[in-house]
Symmetry: C2
Subunit: 123 residues, 2 copies
C-alpha cells in the first residue's frame, strides 16, 4: 500500500470516490471476463470474443463492448470493410486494470476452491 490505505470520508457518498467509480466501471456481469479475455490474448474479433466468453449472447456482448468503449477501456477498430471485420483491444487505461483483475482472480482461487471441492464431494 502506498498512499491509499485510508480513503477520505467523502468516499462514502457525498463526493467522488475512486472505489465507487471503479466499481461502477467494471461491476457488470460480463465486464471482468471480457477485460480478462482481452488482457491475456490481445486483439480479437467480435465472434472470437463471443466464443471465449461462452454463455454470452451477441446482444449482451455488443452492449458490454459499447459500454466499455464509452468508458475508454476498450477500443474498437474496423480493420476491413469488404469482408467486414473489426478488432477489439484494451486501451492503455483498460490494461491498467490488470492488477485489479489479477487480485480478483487470486482471491477467487484462494477463497472459493474449498467451496468447489466441497461441491465435488457432494457430487
Amino acid at each position: 500500500m502506498t498512499d491509499d490505505e485510508k480513503l477520505p470520508a467523502w468516499c462514502s457518498g457525498e463526493g467522488w470516490c475512486p472505489l465507487t467509480a471503479t466499481a461502477g466501471m467494471i461491476s457488470k456481469k460480463w465486464h471482468p471476463v471480457i477485460i480478462h479475455r482481452l488482457l491475456d490474448d490481445g486483439d480479437k474479433g467480435f465472434n472470437d470474443l463471443k466464443k471465449e466468453v461462452s454463455g454470452i449472447s451477441s446482444k449482451v456482448l455488443s452492449e458490454s463492448l459499447d459500454d466499455l468503449e464509452d468508458k475508454g477501456i476498450v477500443e474498437r477498430t474496423v480493420i476491413s470493410e469488404k469482408p467486414f471485420r473489426v478488432k477489439y483491444a484494451l486501451t492503455e487505461r483498460g490494461e491498467g486494470l490488470e492488477p485489479a483483475i489479477n487480485e480478483m482472480i487470486k482471491w477467487g482461487r484462494e477463497n472459493m476452491k474449498e467451496a468447489s471441492s466441497e461441491e465435488e464431494s457432494i457430487v
Copy 2:
C-alpha cells in the same frame, strides 16, 4: 503475479472460474464500499455503517450485509441484547479482499481524476 498470469479456457464459461466467481461475490452496487468501510476501521454497528456509506437505505444495507454474510465475507455478532446492539466485521476471507479493493482504488485514482477535473472545468 505468481501463477495466475493466464486463466485456462474453461474460465470462459463451461466450468468454474475464479474471476467470474469473485465478480459474482462483489459486483453489487454497494459491496465494494461496504467492504472497504469495514476494512479500514474495523467493527461497526448497523447505523455506523449506514452513516459511512451515505446514500444507502436501511433496506439495501441490510440486504447487502445479509448477502455478504452468506458469502462468508462479513460476520455479524450480537454484542448485547438489552440495548440491542450488533457489530459487523470482515471475516478472514473478507479481509483477503483488501488487495483487490486497493487495486480498484488505485485504478480509480489514476484513471478517473482527469475525468473529474474535466468535470470541474465544465462546471
